[in-house]
Structures are given as C-alpha cells and as structure tokens.
C-alpha cells in the first residue's frame, strides 16, 4: 500500500479506519523527503514538532475525540508563511535566520484542523519568480523530470506534493505562483477569490494581488483544504465575510448545463500545439457530457501582464522597505552611517530579481511617473475586471491553458527576464481581476511533461471550479 501516492481524501479515510497512524504516515513522509532531497523542495523541516502533532492526533483519535478536517495529515507550507518557532526565510538571504514570533491565520487554521505541518517549502525569493530559480537556498527541481523547473514562485510546494512528500501544501499566488507550478508539476493548484483567505502572517509581495491557496494531487483535496483556510479574519481588513459554502459537497458529478466560455485571446497562435490539442480534448469531454461552449471576448487581456508588473512592483517596493536591517534580518557589518546601514544591509540581503522589482516599483511610484504608470495601471485593471464580469454574464467558467508551454529546462530562461515574465501571461489576468482559478493536469506533451488547464470562475464561485475540475479529473482517469 503506497500511502504516499494517495490523495489527501483517501489517506484521510485510511487514518479514520485505523489502517495507518498519523505518526507512521508522518515518518513515511520524512523518509520520502530524505530520498528525494535532490529536489530541494524544503528550506526547513520541523520533524520534532510534526511528530508531536501527529502523536497528539493519534491519541485524540484513539480516545474518540472530535477531529478536524485535516487531522493527522502531513502538510507543507510555503516559507513566506509565518509559523511560530520556525524560520520564515521567504527564500531570501535577508531573512535566513528570521524566526517567526507569530503564526499566520491560514497556518493556524491548518493546525486547528489537526494538520501535521512537516516543513517550510522553498520558493522564489519573496515570491518573485516563475521558476523557483531565484531562491537563496538553491534551485528546486521538477519531480517529473529533474532537469526541468517546477515553476514558481511556489515551486517547492508544488514539487513536494507532486513527489509524494506530503498530501497538500499551502502556497501563495500573486500572478500565477500556485497555478503555474501546479501546471508544470502535473498537480492541482487553486488560487481563491481575492479576500477569501486571510493574508495575515503571510509576508506581503503585492498586497492587492496576493492570495493564499493550495496545491494538491486532486481537485477534491483542494476543496477540503480551502474549506479549512477560508474565512473572514479581523486581522486582515481585505478578507471577506462572504459565506463559506461546503466546498466538498459542491462536487455533484455532473456538468450538464455548464456554460464554458472560450476567449480567443487565450487561444492565439503563440500557443504550443500540444497544449492546444490537450485543451481542445478536455473541452470536448465537457461538451460530450452536457456542457456547452460560449464565445467570450476579453479585449484587454494582453495588457494584463504590463498592469501586473506595474502594480505588483509598486506594492512590493513599499512592502519590502521594512527590510532595513534594524528590527530583524541581515544587518551589514560594514556601514559608516545610518543611510549606509540601509544600503549595505539591503544590497547584501536581496537577490537580483528582488532588487530589479524594487527599482521598477519605485520608478512607477515616483512623482512624475505615478499618473502615467501606477494610476493608469489601476484604471486598466478596472477595465480588465469589467471585461471578465461581462464575459461571465454569458458563461459559468472560462477555460484556457494555464501556461502557453509546459515546463522549461533549468537555466533556459534565467538570463531573459522578460521571457520569464511572459510565462505568466495567462495566469496574471486572474489576479488582476481578483477571480478564483484552478489549474489541473489535462495531459502530457511528447516529452512526458504535464500540461495544465486553467478553470476561471466568477468571484466567490470556487464551487463551480471544484465541480467542473473534479468531473474532468475523473473523466481523464477513466478515459471518457
């Protein structure tokens, strides 16, 4: 019985029925982590803490106590999420020794649901990147083919789930950082509606775009995890008090009457032919089972990436200014005055991509450029959002590829930052509009690399994503 290949919901059953204990399961995960250490998925592990949590769950289960939705299940969280007592490095030299003095709300919810947190996942530094090659703790590898990138910035989370080191992982998604790595590694990645999950305790990159989400091996797992982490948090003014549906129950097994929006802007000639045929097949499967296709138009889609880089860099420049070497983090030893202290500490602590984005961010915010760039980008953001809202008047979900191409080789794009940015071209518009989206595997290319399909729903309609996603997942398995 290879427990590590099971979905979360399956191992949950196994735990419930006593086939395996949480401690045994946790030990299996740590063994797997050691066996696959070449993937470099985790920056730190918390073996002692994990085994203690696992033991506590086993004891509670044995004494008949009521247990949470994730009781005893080993989970990984991205290393930009604070968890008291663990290092939260954001894969940056700057925070290499930063120990969390508090726990993020989303992590606390996992703990309260009985999850066994086993480690902090590697990532692109401060969540800036699409390949997990920007980490101060080394590159992460794609378990499908270790010459390839796992995607980013939640590369460690994706690789960990895909390689069977854990049963689910938390990641963050600002421009595709959950969905793109999920697509590259052949797993499911969910970015919820902006405001669905609290951001308190999650190190901010772009405050108006960041959202915590999950990476799992199945759609149903994703629904289970979202049910645990969603909810209004008084610590986060941007979190919503919108009602939380029962996400698992949203999976009905039928897509009859589902209206699928197809936007030509997603299916242009730049699209890889294998990706296109994979998507076409998936969409056809839906149609064969009672769904209908609808043409929708998103005319400003191609400006979303530019809007994204302007807004996210601006917010990042401001959010990362607190890293000054005074309260925590790197403090340079060779400074001559206060101003110099800031310069030296930050220059020593930050990687190249982070520095680039901070400079870009300060440029678009500086007087003289603020109106032409930041303000204008905010306006275009509204246009994009309105276009999506209009499209959703005609359909229930929009389907498109997660990325135009599957994973690329490590080192292939690291010298061309614009080419790197372009990998996010299909994921970024969703963050701009604040919509929920799910990426799921829908095939493989001729080299065996996974191809990801993205399902996009209107605000607060993650239920539609889970239902449609689960249906296709089953259909693909059964070869329908």
């Amino acid at each position: 019985m290879n427990y590590l290949k099971m979905d979360l919901w399956q191992v949950r059953e196994a735990l419930k029925t006593g086939k395996i204990t949480s401690v045994e399961l946790t030990k299996l995960c740590f063994k797997r982590i050691k066996e696959t250490s070449n993937l470099n998925t985790l920056i730190s592990t918390c073996e002692e803490f994990a085994l203690a949590s696992a033991k506590a769950v086993d004891e509670a289960r044995a004494s008949g106590q009521k247990l949470g939705a994730l009781a005893g299940i080993p989970i990984v969280i991205k290393d930009n999420i604070n968890l008291t007592g663990t290092k939260t490095t954001c894969a940056s030299k700057f925070l290499a020794n930063f120990v969390s003095p508090y726990t993020a709300t989303c992590a606390q919810k996992l703990v309260d649901a009985g999850a066994v947190i086993i480690g902090k996942a590697n990532m692109d530094e401060f969540a800036m990147g699409s390949s997990n090659e920007n980490s101060a703790f080394g590159v992460v590898r794609n378990p499908v083919n270790t010459d390839y990138v796992p995607g980013g910035s939640s590369g460690g989370s994706a690789s960990s789930v895909a390689s069977g080191q854990c049963f689910g992982a938390l990641g963050t998604d600002t421009g595709g950082s959950i969905r793109e790595p999920a697509s590259f590694c052949g797993i499911v990645g969910l970015k919820p509606t902006y405001g669905r999950v609290s951001r308190y305790g999650v190190v901010a990159f772009a405050s108006s775009l960041d959202q915590v989400g999950n990476l799992t091996r199945s759609v149903r797992d994703s629904a289970i995890m979202l049910g645990v982490i969603a909810g209004k948090d008084e610590h986060d003014m941007t979190s919503s008090s919108n009602a939380i549906p029962d996400y698992e129950k949203a999976i009905t097994g039928s897509v009859k009457g589902l209206k699928i929006g197809i936007a030509k802007q997603f299916f242009n000639d730049k699209l890889n032919s294998e990706v296109r045929s994979s998507l076409d097949k998936a969409i056809q499967t839906y149609v064969d089972n009672g769904a209908t296709k609808v043409e929708v138009d998103l005319p400003s889609l191609d400006t979303a990436l530019a809007v994204y880089y302007i807004l996210s860099s601006a917010e990042a420049a401001s959010n990362l200014a607190r890293f000054d070497g005074v309260k925590y983090g790197v403090q340079s030893k060779k400074f001559k005055d206060l101003v110099d202290l800031y310069f030296k500490s930050r220059t020593e602590g930050f990687g190249k991509e982070v520095k680039r984005r901070i400079m870009l961010g300060n440029y678009v915010l500086s007087s003289g450029y603020y109106d032409a760039f930041y303000r204008k980008a905010k306006r275009v953001q509204k246009v994009i959002r309105q276009e999506f809202e209009k499209a959703f008047e005609k359909c229930d979900i929009i389907v498109c590829p997660t990325t135009a191409n599957p994973a690329f080789k490590i080192g292939e794009k690291s010298n061309d930052h614009l080419a790197m940015y372009l990998t996010d071209i299909f994921t970024v518009p969703i963050n701009i509009a604040g919509l929920p989206a799910l990426s799921m595997p829908c095939g493989k290319n001729s080299e065996g690399l996974p191809i990801g399909m993205q399902l996009i729903a209107p605000h607060w309609k993650e239920t539609t994503l889970f239902n449609a996603g689960d249906f296709l997942e089953k259909a693909l398995k059964e070869g329908k």
Binding site: L305, V326, L338, L341, R346, L360, Y363, R379, K382, G434
Partner: protein, 99 residues
Amino acid sequence: MPKIDINEAKKLAKLSRLEFNEAELANFVKEFDKTLEYMDTIQKVNTSNIDLHEKTINAKTQLRKDEVKNSFAQKDIIANAPQSEDGAFAVPITVEEGE
C-alpha cells in the same frame, strides 16, 4: 516613450536604498528600457470612463473595536533584532528625532 538614463537609475537606487556598481547600473538601465517599453503598452487602453474611486470590493467598511488586547512580550519583539539594548532596538549611530 519614457527612457531612463544612468542618473535617473542612480536616483532610483538611492530611493530604494540599494547599491549597484557601474557595470550593474549600466546593465540595469539596458534591461529597464525593455521593461518600460513593455509596460508602456497600457497607454493604448481607453480608460476615460473609469472612476477609480468607486467601490470595488462589495464589503462594508469594517473597523476594529477600540479594546486593548495583550501585546507581545518584549523579548519576542526584539528576538530577531540584529542588535538590541535593554529591550530597545539599537543602531550604533546617533540619529535625530524626526525625519
């Protein structure tokens, strides 16, 4: 089309509190020009009907009640400080009050 020169780049670096050597700065300027050109494409979108200050998220303003909750212990606040003295953060330079 906005362009950036070495002097502007130096100003930006100062604003960002980042140090670059001459070579890095020159490279930055080159890359930046490409990025700026790309970002400038947003100008083509017609936004004349957009009111930025309209409600975007349908959430009623929810403010926090003015009730004291326990603060963190002093030791936890300064636990990650590179330098501290008697419970305060320390910088080994004299700094005047007010910026």
